[in-house]
C-alpha cells in the first residue's frame, strides 16, 4: 500500500464515521462539530485529487463560514436535548422504509455499475490546479458563471426585501 492509498482509506473512514456521528449524536452542537470533521475529511480528498484550490475553498466556506452560521443559529434557538419534538411512529417507519429502499437501490446499482474507464487521478493530473480552473471557468464555463450572478443578485434582492424594516405607514 502506498502512502496515497493509506491516506485515501483513512480519510474515507474518517468522512463516513463522522457523517454517521452527525446524525447519531443527540446534542445538535455535537452534530455540527462532527460535520466540521466530515468537511475536513472531504477537503482532504480534494487535495489528494490534486485539487488544492477546491480543498481550501471547501475548508474556508463550509467548515468555516457556514458552520459558524449553523452554530450561531443553534445557540440562538437554544435547542436542548429534552425539547426534541415527538415524532409520529408511522411517519418514522415510513421514513426508515423509504430511506432503506433508496439505499438498497443505490447499492444494487453500484454493484451493477461497470468499472469506470476513467480512474480518478490521485496525486497527479492538473485539472484541479488553480490556473486550469480559472482558465476553464472564464472560457468554457463563462456563460453559467455569468448566469450565476443573476441568481445571486436575485437572492440578494430577496434578502433585502425580507429583511428590510417595514416603515410604519401613517394611519
Amino acid at each position: 500500500m502506498s502512502v496515497t492509498e493509506i491516506l485515501f482509506y483513512s480519510l474515507s473512514a474518517m468522512a463516513i464515521g463522522s457523517a454517521l456521528l452527525v446524525i447519531l449524536s443527540k446534542n445538535p452542537v455535537h452534530s455540527v462539530l462532527w460535520l466540521i470533521v466530515t468537511f475536513v475529511a472531504i477537503s482532504g480528498h480534494y487535495i489528494l485529487l490534486n485539487a488544492q484550490f477546491l480543498g481550501i475553498v471547501n475548508m474556508i466556506v463550509y467548515a468555516g463560514a457556514i458552520m459558524v452560521l449553523f452554530l450561531f443559529v443553534i445557540m440562538l434557538m437554544n435547542l436542548s436535548t429534552h425539547k426534541e419534538a415527538k415524532k409520529n411512529k408511522w411517519l418514522q417507519m415510513a421514513g426508515v422504509l423509504s430511506g432503506g429502499l433508496l439505499l438498497l437501490v443505490i447499492v444494487a446499482s453500484l454493484k451493477g455499475a461497470e468499472q469506470a474507464t476513467l480512474v480518478a487521478q490521485t496525486n497527479e493530473g492538473s485539472i484541479g490546479l488553480l490556473e486550469n480552473l480559472g482558465k476553464t471557468l472564464f472560457t468554457d464555463y463563462v456563460i453559467p458563471f455569468e448566469i450565476a450572478s443573476v441568481l445571486f443578485l436575485s437572492a440578494m434582492v430577496g434578502a433585502v426585501v425580507l429583511g428590510k424594516k417595514t416603515e410604519t405607514t401613517k394611519s
Partner: protein, 458 residues
C-alpha cells in the same frame, strides 16, 4: 439570448427604480414598459435579429420550441402585469423589488426553455425558485404567508438537493453535462446507476411542477402566498418547469423512453386523481384553484408520457391556454372581498361583464369546446392515443376531466344562478378591457389553434 440578457438588465433597472423613485405609478409603468420591450426584443430574436452573438459553447440551444414558449411566457407575464400590477401595491412597500424579482424569474424561464446543459438547467430552476420563495413570503405581517414561504423554501431546497444528486449520478455515468451528449452516451439502455439518477431528477422536477405524490406543498403555498403572486406562480412558472421537464427527457432520454415511461405514467395518474378529487371538496375558490392547478399539471404530464410530436404541440398549447385562463380567474379573484364560493353569489347581476369573462375562463379550464382549454386537452389525449398502450391512463384522464367540470361549473352556478351580494372592489375600464382581450384570445385559440402552433414549424 436577447430575452435572457434584457430581462436580467431590466431586473437591475427595477432595483434602481426602487431606490430612487417613490411614485408607484412610475414604477408600475417602468415594469410594464420593460415587459413590452422584452416581448418585442424576443420576437425580433425569434425572427432572426440577434442583438447578442455569444458563443454559449452549446450550453444553450435555441429552437422554435424554446422561442415560442419563451414568447408565450413573456406575453402572459405582460398580460398579468396589466391586470394585477396595481394589486401588488397592497402586498407591501417594496413594489419595485417585486417587479425586479419577476424579471429575474423571466430570465430563469428563458434559460430553462433553452438549456442544453444540466448546469444551466440547475441555474435556471434556481433562478426561478429563489425569487418565488421570497414572493411567497412578501406579505410579512401575515403569518400564513410566512409559514408558506418557509415551508416552500425548506421543501424546495430539499428537492434541489435531490436534483443535484441525480445530476451527479448521471454525470458519473455519461461523463458529460451536455444533455444531447448524455443521449449519445446512454442511448441503448440506461445502466442502473444512471437510472437511479434519472429517477431522482424526475422526483425533483415532479416536485417543481407539483405532481402527486410530491404535491403536498402546493395547496398550502398557493393559499398562503399573496393572491397576486399565486396567480403568477400557478401559471407561468409552472408551465416553465414543465417545459424544462419535457426538454430534459425529450433531448436526453428519448431513446430509453421505455425504461422510465411507466414511472411517469403512474405519477400522472396519481396527479390526475388526487388533484381532481380533492378539488371537489374545497370551499374556497383560491384553494380550489390550487388543487385544480395540480389536476391541470396531471394533464400536462400526459405530454411527457407520450413523448411525440402531438405531445410537443399540445404542451405548448396547454401552457398558453392554461396560463391565460388561470391568470384571468385570479385577476378577478383578487378583486373579490370573499374568496369562498359564496362570495361569488350573484356576481352576474352586479358585474355582468366580469361574470361573463370569468365564465369563459372557467369553461376553458374545464375543457368545453370552442375554448382553448378544449383544444389543449384534445391534443394531449390525441398524443397519448397516437402513442398507444396506455388505455388505462387515457380513461383516468377523461374521468378526471369530467370530475373537473363539476367544480368549475360550481363557480358559474354561484355567479349566475344563486342569489347573493358579491362584493368586489371597484375596477377600472382598463382592467375590463384586458380581461376582454384575454377572453377573446382564449376563444380565438380555441377556434384556430394553428395561429399559435404554426410558429412551431418555422
Amino acid at each position: 439570448m436577447n430575452a435572457i440578457v434584457l430581462s436580467a438588465i431590466w431586473g437591475v433597472v427595477m432595483m434602481f427604480c426602487g431606490a430612487f423613485v417613490q411614485n408607484k405609478s412610475i414604477i408600475r409603468t417602468t415594469a410594464i414598459t420593460g415587459m413590452v420591450l422584452l416581448l418585442i426584443v424576443h420576437l425580433l430574436d425569434f425572427n432572426g435579429v440577434h442583438f447578442f452573438t455569444i458563443d454559449t459553447k452549446n450550453m444553450l440551444q435555441f429552437n422554435s420550441f424554446s422561442y415560442l414558449f419563451t414568447a408565450i411566457a413573456i406575453g402572459s407575464t405582460l398580460l398579468y402585469f396589466l391586470l394585477s400590477a396595481k394589486d401588488m401595491e397592497n402586498v407591501g412597500i417594496e413594489l419595485a423589488e417585486y417587479f425586479a424579482l419577476i424579471f429575474f424569474i423571466t430570465c430563469g424561464i428563458a434559460l430553462v426553455s433553452s438549456f442544453n446543459s444540466l448546469l444551466i438547467l440547475f441555474l435556471g430552476i434556481e433562478i426561478i425558485s429563489i425569487p418565488l420563495y421570497i414572493l411567497t413570503g412578501s406579505d410579512k405581517r401575515n403569518l400564513k404567508s410566512n409559514e408558506a414561504s418557509l415551508k416552500y423554501f425548506l421543501m424546495g431546497s430539499f428537492s434541489t438537493g435531490i436534483m443535484l444528486m441525480g445530476m451527479t449520478l448521471i454525470y458519473g455515468m455519461s461523463g458529460t453535462f451536455y444533455v444531447d451528449r448524455i443521449a449519445e452516451a446512454l442511448s441503448f439502455q440506461l445502466p442502473a446507476y444512471a437510472l437511479v439518477g434519472l429517477v431522482l431528477l424526475i422526483v425533483s422536477l415532479s416536485f417543481k411542477v407539483s405532481a402527486a405524490p410530491f404535491h403536498f406543498w402546493t395547496p398550502d403555498v398557493y393559499d398562503g402566498a399573496p393572491s397576486v403572486f399565486t396567480s403568477y406562480m400557478a401559471t407561468i412558472v409552472k408551465a416553465a418547469s414543465f417545459i424544462a421537464f419535457y426538454r430534459l427527457l425529450r433531448i436526453g432520454f428519448a431513446d430509453t423512453h421505455y425504461q422510465w415511461q411507466l414511472i411517469i405514467a403512474i405519477i400522472t395518474a396519481l396527479t390526475l386523481l388526487i388533484g381532481n378529487i380533492t378539488a371537489v371538496f374545497q370551499l374556497s375558490v383560491k384553494r380550489m384553484m390550487s388543487y385544480s392547478s395540480i389536476a391541470q399539471a396531471g394533464f400536462m404530464m400526459l405530454a411527457i408520457v407520450s413523448m411525440n410530436g402531438f405531445g410537443k404541440e399540445g404542451l405548448i398549447f396547454y401552457a398558453a391556454a392554461y396560463s391565460l385562463a388561470t391568470i384571468g380567474i385570479f385577476a378577478v379573484l383578487i378583486k373579490m372581498k370573499d374568496y369562498t364560493f359564496e362570495g361569488f353569489n350573484g356576481l352576474a347581476k352586479k358585474e355582468p361583464f366580469i361574470a361573463a369573462v370569468t365564465a369563459i375562463f372557467t369553461l376553458s379550464l374545464a375543457g368545453i369546446p370552442a375554448t382553448a382549454g378544449f383544444m389543449a386537452k384534445f391534443y394531449m389525449l390525441m398524443s397519448l392515443v397516437y402513442q398507444g398502450g396506455y388505455t388505462w391512463l387515457i380513461i383516468i384522464a377523461i374521468l378526471g376531466a369530467v370530475v373537473s367540470v363539476y367544480y368549475y361549473l360550481r363557480l358559474i352556478q354561484a355567479m349566475y344562478f344563486k342569489e347573493g351580494n358579491a362584493e368586489m372592489t371597484p375596477v377600472s375600464t382598463g382592467f375590463k378591457v384586458t380581461l376582454g382581450v384575454l377572453a377573446a384570445l382564449i376563444i380565438l385559440l380555441g377556434i384556430k389553434p394553428q395561429l399559435l402552433l404554426n410558429y412551431l414549424h418555422f
